[in-house]
């Protein structure tokens, strides 16, 4: 039987040592009528070779970034993953370890988490960062709940140019604890009218760059939050931090983000990586784990999980969050990614993205599409077409191009709009091809 090492003799000896005649006797506490009498109705077991073949077949049915020219982003990006990343994270000492509750046996992971926290804090220009959350969406929801917990105010104000799916998650989290979610409207793809923000507002949330790729004016959002005495929360793309001034320079209280672009596959949306950075003054209130540097009694430096009294296993219903398992391994991906790229590499990725984006805007608007929003963008932009964007997407996919995200499903009235992402992986020729095919499709 797979993965179970017991021989007939093992079982006999073990049962004898326990003092029973059969494994069934060990289950005597389960009332007879609750025990299954028949094997479950499941598919037959598969050997390793046939398992692989089964999955090869399933995987082959999907259209992936390996067999289409990829311009779909919307928060998750087809960025290059250096070979070092999977080489490191597949090491069994990392992959198959548990949460580092026994620090003496877990110094390697603890140090990596400390390095992760350091890089996230620096990327966002913040004092500190935690050891990760599930993903960007739940990290943003946690930030809102944290703000509510700190100032007790009953509503959160979120820009409608924040990722629509993230806002859906925010609504669910807030509903559960009776916090109202109010949307700040965007105009021309930018958040500028903060009149819904008032003294009942726990926090103001904007995205940077926002869902449309537009670089928000963080100063204006901060001023609105400060005027109302609300916390200022920014959801920021980590790759853009290679070039953009970080939210910390705009006095953000909390910065969250989706860490997927940092060496993690899109993976149909999971597992992802929630980034969560904050000002030092919130070090008793933030959710999730954090690792700190300390020493043993001989003065050797070492790392431990710290500020533990906020956490669920100690504080139970008074904990700052219910999160336990986080996204440590994806955090390790990001740590290796950022170590490999370093300062110059991340800048290069960001700069190539900006160049490709500028070039794509030029070529695609020449091909018959219009730019929906003016204003500065990073890596992504909204095209307005003369026809239904879903139809254009389908037709371009027939030509091998994953053209972007049709926006009608998230923004009524934007049925002819397509959100296009251009990462550092796209070549000039590929962008040219997209433009040529688009021209034909629109003709």
């Amino acid at each position: 039987m797979p993965y179970i090492p017991h021989t007939e003799e093992d079982r006999r000896e073990m049962l004898a040592a326990i003092g029973v005649g059969s494994i069934d006797e060990l289950f005597r506490d389960i009332p007879e009528e609750l025990r299954l009498k028949e094997p479950l109705d499941l598919p037959p077991s598969m050997d390793e070779y046939h398992l692989q073949r089964h999955f090869f077949q399933l995987a082959a049915q999907n259209r992936s970034s390996a067999n289409a020219l990829w311009f779909l982003g919307a928060g998750l990006y087809d960025r290059y993953i250096p070979a070092t990343v999977p080489a490191v994270v597949s090491r069994g000492e990392f992959l198959t370890s548990y949460t580092p509750y026994q620090p003496e046996l877990s110094q390697g992971y603890l140090q990596a988490i400390y390095e992760f926290q350091t890089m996230v804090a620096h990327l966002y220009g913040m004092d500190m960062a935690n050891a990760s959350m599930y993903d960007g969406a739940t990290a943003m929801a946690e930030a809102a709940i944290m703000a509510h917990g700190l100032n007790g105010r009953p509503k959160v104000c979120v820009s409608s140019a924040v990722h629509p799916v993230w806002r859906q998650v925010l609504r669910t989290y807030c509903w559960a604890v009776d916090v109202e979610v109010v949307e700040i409207p965007h105009s021309d793809g930018r958040t500028s009218d903060f009149s819904v923000v008032d003294d009942q507002t726990a926090c103001v949330i904007v995205q940077y760059p926002n869902f449309f790729g537009v670089i928000e004016d963080l100063g204006a959002a901060r001023d609105a939050a400060r005027a109302a005495g609300a916390l200022f929360v920014v959801a920021a793309d980590p790759t853009a931090m290679g070039l953009l001034p970080p939210p910390g320079e705009f006095d953000a209280d909390v910065v969250v983000g989706e860490g997927q672009p940092l060496g993690i596959p899109m993976g149909f949306g999971g597992p992802l990586l929630g980034l969560f950075a904050f000002k030092k003054q919130y070090h008793r209130s933030f959710p999730g784990r954090i690792v700190g540097r300390t020493q043993d009694k001989d003065g050797n430096p070492g790392f431990v999980m710290t500020l533990r009294t906020r956490e669920q296993d100690i504080r139970r219903e008074k904990a700052t969050s219910n999160i336990c398992t986080n996204s440590a391994l994806m955090g390790l991906c990001a740590t290796v990614y950022l170590a490999a790229l370093g300062k110059n590499g991340l800048r290069q990725v960001a700069e190539t993205t900006v160049r490709n984006t500028r070039y794509a805007i030029g070529r695609l608007t020449q091909a018959g599409a219009r730019l929906r929003f003016d204003g500065r963008v990073f890596g992504e932009f909204v095209l307005e077409l003369d026809r239904d964007a879903e139809e254009v997407q389908r037709r371009l996919l027939d030509r091998g191009i994953m053209a972007g995200l049709p926006l009608g499903r998230f923004y009524p009235g934007m049925e002819r709009c397509l959100l296009v992402a251009v990462t550092e992986c796209r070549l000039k020729d590929e962008i040219d091809l997209y433009a040529e095919e688009l021209k034909e499709v629109l003709a």
Binding site: Y3, E48, H54, L58, N62, S65, T96, Q107, G242, R376
Partner: protein, 487 residues
């Protein structure tokens, strides 16, 4: 006597940095240069990331892996965590580009293979738990708990019983239970455990009332014991108009042997990263599928994956849904791994999981009970909870025994949990361990118990075999250092 000890290079990656190095041959730009200030408005001046060569990056992390311990390093009997073997074939198939390179917002018709993976896992879990409705959207165990509690909240509200604000949680429960209850807007009322290690029925009866929303029950309990009165407990809670949630952290004791839905539970969560062998990854990612019955089905998070004309499809039309608890369809690449694991066992072998998990736990308990008495002297399920209380008079605590185990080459069991057992050592061997490994572990613990009587300082000073000894956790809080900065 003393050997020269190699001093490992404990520098942080930032301290190895040298200006100008890059550790990856990145995609070169092919499009025209741009004026970055003009494009972006402003460009940041500082970016504090290390600059390392590719080989240095690998050496850095290879070194870190050498001072870390995983299942592949050795036995990992951490109670409540189900540290079983994570098969390699699962990793291989999860890395296929047809899974790793797909996007959750691409058209549904372009990912039939992915939907089939998700639905297959869903259907197999439905059969294993007995619940008619499983969703993989929750991202971890605590997230699954939270989702179930949201379903329960929505259910009561839909019946005009939004006043049911109290969640009953046994005192032996995981901390995530009360924390999740708070996050779903509930108040928590603890329920004591009786002297047999089971839910105190009298106390439960007294606690149930018109304000009760649900009972969160871990079965088997964190004491490693099956709630013999589970059917009666569920009846009592239902009679009070409340629902019963099963914390499925201990599903490894039940797979193929008994089904939580048959016990009377209304919903449950599963930890696919425990029971179904997706790697823990040093604390995540998890995968927190939930199962629910008909009462709760209308409230499931959107979208719900269904089979239509034999094909997997998303149902977005769920007017009573609580909404989304996570952005997409859960931890897809972990679902791939879980499916690979489930299919390897299949109909013929599924029950072998729980049967050997329970066999191994009872074997360990039997081999240790004269030196480390069980908290309750009965057959346990997939884990045993022993107490180190007899050694307290020598000044030896459970933690000391655990730390000494490290010197013997083993990962310690869970300490001081459940909270109601003094000096608890919670041991979960899992089914993937050999008798020889269990024997070596039991021999080590027996030797340590002898040391505890004869030379307790050996335990107090442990571990001495690692790069660090016991670390000063108080100092870590007092001199908080969670982010490196250049001096």
């Amino acid at each position: 006597m003393s050997r020269t000890k190699r001093v490992p290079d404990m520098r942080l990656m930032f301290e190895k940095s040298r200006m100008g190095r890059v550790g990856c041959n990145l995609p070169a730009p092919t499009t025209p240069e741009v004026d970055l200030e003009q494009e972006l408005g402003a460009v940041r001046s500082d970016l504090l990331l290390p600059e390392l060569s590719e080989l240095e990056v690998l050496r850095h992390f290879t070194h870190l892996s050498h001072i870390n311990y995983g299942i592949e390093t050795g036995f990992y009997p951490l109670g409540s965590c189900t540290m079983k073997y994570n098969p390699k074939v699962n990793e291989r198939v999860a890395g296929l580009s047809g899974f790793a390179g797909i996007h959750p917002l691409q058209p549904e018709e372009t990912v039939p293979g992915a939907l089939e993976v998700l639905l297959s896992v869903q259907e197999m879990l439905e059969e294993i738990t007995g619940f008619d409705h499983v969703t993989l959207q929750p991202l971890a165990g605590a997230h699954g708990e939270l989702t179930c509690l949201m379903l329960i909240k929505a259910y009561h509200e839909s019946r005009g019983e939004g006043g049911r604000k109290v969640v009953l949680v046994p005192d032996s429960a995981h901390g995530t239970n009360p924390a999740s209850a708070a996050r779903a807007g509930f108040r928590v009322k603890p329920i004591p455990t009786n002297e047999d290690g089971l839910t105190d029925l009298e106390a439960l009866k007294a606690a149930l009332g018109p304000d009760t929303a649900t009972l969160m029950l871990t079965n088997p309990s964190t004491l490693g014991l099956f709630e013999r009165n589970i059917a009666q407990i569920c009846d009592m809670v239902h009679a009070a108009g409340a629902l019963v949630f099963c914390d499925g952290a201990n599903m490894n004791a039940m797979v193929g042997t008994t089904r939580p839905s048959d016990h009377g539970f209304d919903c449950m969560h599963l930890n696919l990263h425990k029971t179904f062998s997706t790697p823990h990854g040093g604390g995540g990612p998890g995968c927190g599928a939930i199962g629910a019955n008909e009462l709760l089905a209308p409230f499931l998070p959107t979208p719900v994956l269904v089979r239509r004309d034999g094909k997997a499809a998303f149902d977005h039309d769920r007017p009573q849904s609580i909404g989304k608890v996570s952005p997409y369809y859960g931890q897809f690449l972990l679902a791939v791994r879980a499916l690979s694991y489930l299919l390897a066992f299949g109909r013929e072998h599924m029950a072998d999981i729980s049967r050997h998990a329970v066999l191994n736990a009872n074997y360990v308990q039997a081999r240790l009970k004269d030196v480390l008495p069980p908290a309750h002297d009965r057959f346990c399920m997939h884990e045993c909870v022993l107490t180190a209380a007899p050694y307290k008079k020598q000044g030896v605590r459970a933690l000391d025994i655990s730390k000494r185990l490290i010197d013997y080459g083993f990962h310690p069991p869970t300490n001081y949990f459940p909270l109601i057992v003094p000096e608890a050592l919670m041991i979960e061997p899992t089914e993937t361990e050999t008798k020889e490994t269990l024997d070596a572990f039991c021999d080590a613990l027996r030797a340590i118990c002898a040391e505890a009587r004869e030379n307790p300082d050996l335990l107090h000073d442990a571990p001495t075999t690692q790069v660090v000894g016991r670390l000063d956790e108080t100092a870590a809080v007092k001199n908080l250092d969670v982010c490196w900065r250049p001096s």
